[in-house]
Symmetry: C2
Subunit: 322 residues, 2 copies
């Protein structure tokens, strides 16, 4: 649920007058995205999504995000394509916020991904990694990779055990294992870093779109795979579904091969990915403002996933074909 900023008809009309999109046909706030305000915008030129960037997005990062979407869309990735105004500029200002009009993507997200969905996701993820390989116009450090975890832990450690007994000690232990052992030297590039099912659209079993590039950054490509294994291949009861993992990984590798080093690193990368979402969810969970419009995700889901990864003895446990 996300419309944080009110846009008056006069403001919208003035903003649209700088674009070649014809007359306004409809404009509705939509409940999509947690960080920003999003609106369905229909004009004589078609359907679009208007995004106003709210406080949690650093304006300095916007050229990276928008440049990346332009780059990917130009390479045939089904992602929102930023629309430029008459002066050739995509990023504008509306209601005091940085604002972007992007093309509307059809499709709906799945809540319980099927094996076929996981395979389609693997193909799309590898396609994204390939298409992003020559995006060198700008770069963005992953603020939520290893160096970002301990500060999150510091915010949460005193109250972590209110969420689950022993959680604080478990996270401390994970940090002591992951920080010194985190893989380096693996292939790096642009990663999505948040490619959860709600950021992927399907029509039937066809994957029709990837959205929400606002965590995208430069990092290890296999770390993005690990994030997706976490987000797509666990069942509601907490069990890892090796069939789904196998489908995701096999489909990925048909488009972009994984090196032996990347495969060997998967268990560590999956632990790190689980810890990263456990930590951000935990901090959000412990800091829900009164009257919050958004219910935070349950951190315990990622605690269960982390416990699975701690039990893994080989990359084969994820469904990697040898």
């Amino acid at each position: 649920m996300a419309v944080y900023t009110d846009v008056s008809p006069e403001q919208l009309e003035a903003f649209l007058s700088t674009y070649d999109l014809g007359r306004l046909r409809a404009f509705k706030g939509i409940a999509e995205g947690v960080e920003n305000s999003n609106f369905l915008l229909q004009t004589e030129a078609g359907s679009f999504i208007l995004t106003l960037y709210e406080k949690r997005v650093n304006p300095a990062d916007l050229p990276f995000f928008i440049g990346l979407m332009q780059h990917l869309a130009a390479r045939g990735i089904d992602c929102p394509q930023p629309v430029k105004n008459r002066e050739g500029v995509a990023l504008g200002t509306l209601a005091g916020r940085p604002a972007l009009i992007a093309t509307f993507l059809y499709g709906t997200s799945v809540r319980r991904p099927s094996v076929a969905n996981c395979a389609a996701l693997g193909t799309a993820l590898a396609g994204l990694h390939r298409a992003g390989a020559d995006f060198t116009a700008s770069s963005r450090v992953n603020a939520l990779s290893v160096p970002g975890w301990r500060p999150l832990y510091e915010q949460a450690k005193d109250r972590a055990d209110t969420v689950a007994p022993g959680l604080s000690a478990l996270i401390a232990d994970e940090l002591s294992v992951l920080e010194p052992a985190w893989p380096s030297g693996l292939p790096a590039g642009v990663i999505h870093a948040d490619l959860f099912p709600d950021n992927v659209f399907f029509t039937g079993e066809e994957l029709t779109g990837l959205i929400d590039f606002y965590f995208a950054c430069n990092d290890l490509l296999a770390y993005d795979v690990a994030i997706c294994l976490n987000a797509w291949c666990f069942e509601p009861d907490g069990a890892y579904n090796q069939t789904k993992g196998r489908a995701l990984l096999a489909a990925y590798r048909t488009v972009r091969p994984l090196s032996d080093q990347e495969i060997a690193a998967l268990p560590m990368l999956c632990r790190g990915a689980a810890l990263r979402f456990l930590l951000t969810r935990l901090v959000d969970w412990l800091n829900v403002p009164p009257g919050a419009l958004v219910r935070p995700h349950d951190p315990k889901e990622y605690l269960r996933k982390l416990r699975f990864h701690r039990s893994v003895t080989s990359p084969a446990d994820y469904g990697v074909a040898s």
Copy 2:
């Protein structure tokens, strides 16, 4: 901002399978309507609004609302047209709620109506009253007409003065004037009863749609006119704009004449309409639940309007041409 009920992809797919609307193309919660959950639904057959009726709507009223929209749409009124499923039934059940698919109306609402907007509204309102004249399949008492006001006052009177000094006594005075003197015998029929600017769509200056019929009921037609004079013809500074009132009334009368009795009753009807919205806003204002998703409207806006109506000495003050 209104998405109160979560709809899973599986629930949506099962629901849509009972309609002839082709494959799903997009589905997004939208921030429109306060009482119900609304979703943009796009299928191969076009764009629709899916509404789930939440607790504030009495299910027993739904056949009236839906029958009325069908009736009006069949008579060329630009309102949402209920879509029937394969069994010829419009009202269904989705996610445990009564649910309706209706056609999507293009256009956007204005926030500061122009004189031309007020004239277009007057024409549309009279057209609505004419088209509703033969809607006799069912009827609905106006729960928010005179008999409904004192119970609202009883809920609010002890804390009313926290909103504005002297408010409790002023409402008591209004009730003592309006209850015995409320007009009777005027032309009655189906009224919208909530035709505020956010329920009316325009494309440019052309009125393209009327929405949100969930306060519609049988009542005095001129009371609907009074509600619209209140909602459309005051300026943000609280002043009544007689030019807008004149435009609204003149346009209305070109489609449906107002009798001398209706014109004579306008000051009393406008006072009543102002009191009705003052009372409901006051009760909502005093009873905002913690963590509410919806910010209540300011009751003081209608206190100012009520004070204006108390100063009116003749229907001519509203811009009625003699």
